[in-house]
């Protein structure tokens, strides 16, 4: 799979990880442009539906980043993330999706270099995994 540039969707919480990404930018740190950032108010807002939808509609990997446990702006939003994402990973594996395609990270507003490092490393992981395989089936109507 030469010249494969993975598409990665990153859900970053407004209060820590998004600010961390900002800091990486202001500090002119280099990291791959494979990440497409979506800002969410809290990592606890990331419904597994978002992740599944991202994968089914073109993403090869998904990053979910929030404040460190204990630091969530909404007190315990990221504790929900911390419980939800591992369950989601189990389900992903049962669906035959490599769980390495989804990564959960705690990145504070001061951790610009950590953010850049995570993006670099994750992009390489997903590049090695290759493109996420989707089938061409179209869902016909609107059930539910």
């Amino acid at each position: 799979m030469e010249n494969f540039e993975p598409k990665i969707i990153g859900f970053l919480c407004n209060w820590c990880s998004y600010a961390g990404a900002d800091l990486a930018g202001v500090g002119r740190m280099q990291y791959p442009s494979n990440l497409r950032v979506i800002r969410v108010m809290c990592s606890g807002r990331v419904d597994p539906t978002f992740v599944f939808k991202a994968l089914s509609e073109g993403a090869d990997g998904v990053l979910i980043a929030g404040c460190h446990p204990g630091d969530c702006h909404y007190t315990d939003g990221n504790y929900n993330t911390l419980k939800r994402i591992p369950l989601m990973l189990k389900v992903l594996e049962q669906f035959g999706v490599e769980k390495e395609r989804v990564r959960m990270e705690w990145i504070s507003a001061a951790e610009g270099s950590i953010f850049a490092g995570v993006v670099k490393e994750f992009t390489e992981t997903v590049r090695k995994l290759g493109p996420y395989k989707r089938n061409g089936l179209e869902r016909g109507g609107k059930v539910g």
């Binding site: 911390l82 669906f95 016909g140």
Partner: protein
């Protein structure tokens, strides 16, 4: 008023939906009074050729149950669509794949191998697998083609209404029949015979604090019949499932399996359920989370029990 022409068909299904129709009991006579049944393989004699000979639109309403697993299911779905004014996906399999679609977790070849070679009740030393065509002295035998994916009805033909349930309850079936007869139907594409609110909304159990330290499988505990089952650690799908069934399973002290399908606006019932379960787990550290998750035997199979055809991630045949 002229009598309606009604067709009922089963594709890849267990027969339960047809039995549920019979379970309207004496009201079946009322149905017969307003409708001529032109096709109902489980109950009356009929030939595909008779349907093929019909003009398009001859059938007023077709209640189609079962998923589309093979070429025969697909052929009849297209035939009935052409001949029917109103096509109803009837029951969870037609709506979203249902139990047959759990096979989508496996590749087609794995399914065939398991069923025709490995099951304990199978004796097949030569490893014979079904073929679509087979020459015998008397001529050619043919079988439908087994597809690699289990589809729900609207992945194959256009569907006008959806009636979820495994099976739909007789009361709801009767409501649907009455709506059809009176012409009092909601806009096309609607889900009928189910409510717009979650099952929890109609569930009478005492709901207190949803905090769970471990999950149980149904055979592992006898739950308190008054309290919310989810609070007792049973994976009840009530929070993400449409109401309308009358909370049947709950009354039998069994958790909801989600057969009435996702709530309006929810595109993936399983994903939504992961979200709700996440917030009730009463643990904090990653290690505790892992050991609590160990108590869920088959998360994907449980959360997508009826919805594999419509799951965003499609399974092994992706």
């Amino acid at each position: 008023m002229a009598k309606l022409n009604l067709a009922l068909y089963w594709a890849s299904s267990c027969g339960g939906c047809d039995v549920a129709v019979l379970d309207v009991n004496e009201k079946i006579l009322d149905i017969a009074a307003v409708a001529d049944i032109v096709l109902w393989p489980v109950a009356v004699d009929g030939k595909y050729a008779d349907i093929e000979a019909m003009e398009p639109g001859t059938i007023d309403v077709c209640l189609f149950n079962g998923a589309v697993r093979n070429s025969e299911n697909e052929h009849i779905a297209m035939l009935l669509r052409e001949k029917s004014k109103v096509m109803v996906a009837f029951g969870s399999c037609a709506v979203s794949g249902g139990i047959p679609a759990l096979a989508n977790f496996k590749e087609r070849d794995e399914v065939l191998k398991r069923v025709f070679m490995e099951t304990p009740s199978t004796v097949n030393p030569e490893g014979v697998l079904p073929l679509t065509r087979c020459e015998v002295p008397e001529g050619t035998l043919s079988l439908p083609e087994f597809y690699k994916y289990v589809h729900c009805l609207d992945q194959v033909v256009e569907v006008d209404y959806y009636v979820p349930g495994c099976p739909p309850t007789p009361q709801r079936i009767w409501d649907v029949v009455q709506a059809i007869v009176s012409g009092n139907l909601p806009p096309r594409g609607a889900t009928v015979g189910a409510t717009e609110k979650s099952l929890c909304d109609e569930c009478k159990r005492i709901k207190q604090n949803k905090k769970v330290k471990r999950f149980y499988r149904v055979h592992e505990i006898i739950p308190d019949p008054e309290r919310c089952l989810l609070e007792q650690g049973l994976l009840c799908m009530g929070p993400v499932t449409r109401g309308g069934c009358g909370a049947q399973c709950i009354s039998a002290n069994m958790p909801c399996r989600g057969c009435y399908g996702p709530l309006p606006g929810v595109i993936d019932q399983g994903a939504k359920y992961i979200s709700s379960i996440g917030s009730i787990m009463d643990v904090q550290s990653p290690e505790e989370v892992e050991s609590l998750l160990e108590t869920i035997a088959d998360p994907a199979g449980t959360f997508y029990r009826f919805g594999m055809s419509t799951a965003l991630l499609r399974g092994a045949n992706r």
